[in-house]
Symmetry: C2
Subunit: 184 residues, 2 copies
DNA sequence: TCCATATGAGACATTGATGTCGCAAATGTG
DNA sequence: CACATTTGCGACATCAATGTCTCATATGGA
C-alpha cells in the first residue's frame, strides 16, 4: 500500500512505543512533542513513521491489544483445570497492565482494537463457563460480572505491584483468592 | 474576588453540569462546542460562567468529588456493623458511577479534587480497618488491596446496572458478597 | 573506511479550539 | 404588561498543535 521511504530502526520504534504508552497513560491528550521528547526522538521522526497523531495512537493500541491476546493464549495448556488456566492468564497479563490502561483511555473506538477486545472477552467468557462448570464460581453469579471482576483484578494487581506492596506472585495469588474465596 | 456580571440560572447550570459529565466521560478531550451543544446552550454561555475550559473541568470535578464525599458520609450511622456501613456506602455511591468515572479521567491533578479524594480514601481505609476488626476481612490482606477492590466494585456495579443485567439492590449485594465471600 | 540512509533540528503554513465582544431575542419577575 | 437581565448567535483575534519540508549530522552495514 504505502511504500515507506524511511525504514524505522528497531531501537527507535521501541523507544517511541514505550514512551507513547507511558506519556499517553499519564495524559490522554498529550502532544506529539511530549511523546517525542520522552522517547528522546525528534518530532519529525514521529511523523515520518506515523503519518498522523491518530496513526500513532491506533498503531500503539493495536500493538497493545495484540500483546494482550498473545499473552492470554500463550499460557493456555490442554488438560489444565479452569483455576490453573486463570492463574496462568493472570501471570501473563498482569505485567501488561500499562497496555491495559492505555487501551482503557485511548482508541476506544478503533475497529481493530474493538475486534481484539471482543476476542479477549470471548476467551474470558469461555473460561468463566469452565470455572462455573468446575464449581469454582457459583452458577448464579452473572457471567459478565465475573468477567468484569477478572478484568478489574488484573488492573488492581498491576497497581499493587507498581506501588510495591506486593510481588508479582503474591498479587497473582491474591487476585485468584479474591475472585473465588473473597477476602474474609 | 470576581464579581460575576451574570448570574447563572439554576436550570442552565444543571444542564451544563450533566452534559459536561456525559460528554467528557465519552471523550475526555471533548470540545467546549460539544459540551454546549449537548447542554442545549450557547458556547458563549459556557465561557460566561466558566471563564476557561479548565475552569469548567475543575468546577465539575470539585462538584463530583463533593457529591461522592457527601454520599459516603450521609449514610454513616453510629452503632452499625462494619458490613452494614459498607452496604450503606455502596448503596449511596454506586448511583454516582458517572461522577466516579469523570474523576478517573479528568482533573486528576487538581489540588482540591486530590484533597477530596484523599479524604474519601481515608474514610474507606478506616472502614477497612473495622472490617478486619470484625472478621469480615482477613487481617493478612493488605488494606490498600481491599480499598482498591471496594473502589473497583463500585464501578463494576454501576456498569452492571447501566448495562441492565442487575438492579441496584442486586448489584449492591453482589458487590458485598464478592468482597467478603468471593464468587464460589 | 566509505556509503547509504535514518535521524534531529528548525522553519513554515494550516487548522481547529479557545476566549472575547456586541447585539437582538427570550425569559422570568414584579 | 413592563422591566431587567440572562441567553443565543455570530464575528473576531489569538494561540497551540499538527503536519510538511529541508539540510546537516549521526549511524550502521559492506
Amino acid at each position: 500500500m504505502s511504500a515507506r521511504r524511511h525504514v524505522i530502526r528497531p531501537a527507535t520504534l521501541e523507544a517511541i512505543v514505550e514512551a507513547a504508552i507511558r506519556v499517553l497513560n499519564a495524559n490522554a491528550g498529550a502532544t506529539m512533542s511530549e511523546v517525542a521528547a520522552q522517547a528522546g526522538v525528534g518530532r519529525a521522526t514521529l511523523h515520518r513513521h506515523f503519518h498522523t497523531r491518530d496513526d500513532l495512537v491506533s498503531a500503539i493500541g493495536i500493538r497493545c491489544i495484540e500483546d494482550m491476546n498473545a499473552a492470554v493464549r500463550a499460557e493456555a495448556t490442554a488438560g489444565q483445570s479452569a483455576v490453573d488456566r486463570l492463574r496462568s492468564m493472570f501471570r501473563a497479563v498482569i505485567p501488561l497492565g500499562d497496555r491495559y490502561s492505555f487501551l482503557g483511555t485511548n482508541c476506544t473506538d478503533d475497529p481493530r482494537v474493538r475486534e481484539g477486545y471482543g476476542m479477549q472477552l470471548q476467551w474470558v467468557m469461555a473460561l468463566v463457563e469452565d470455572l462455573k462448570e468446575q464449581g469454582d464460581v457459583d452458577r448464579d453469579v452473572p457471567s459478565p460480572w465475573v468477567a468484569a471482576q477478572i478484568d478489574q483484578l488484573v488492573w488492581t494487581a498491576w497497581n499493587a505491584i507498581a506501588a510495591g506492596y506486593l510481588s508479582a506472585d503474591e498479587a497473582t495469588e491474591l487476585a485468584l483468592r479474591t475472585l473465588t474465596e473473597g477476602l474474609r
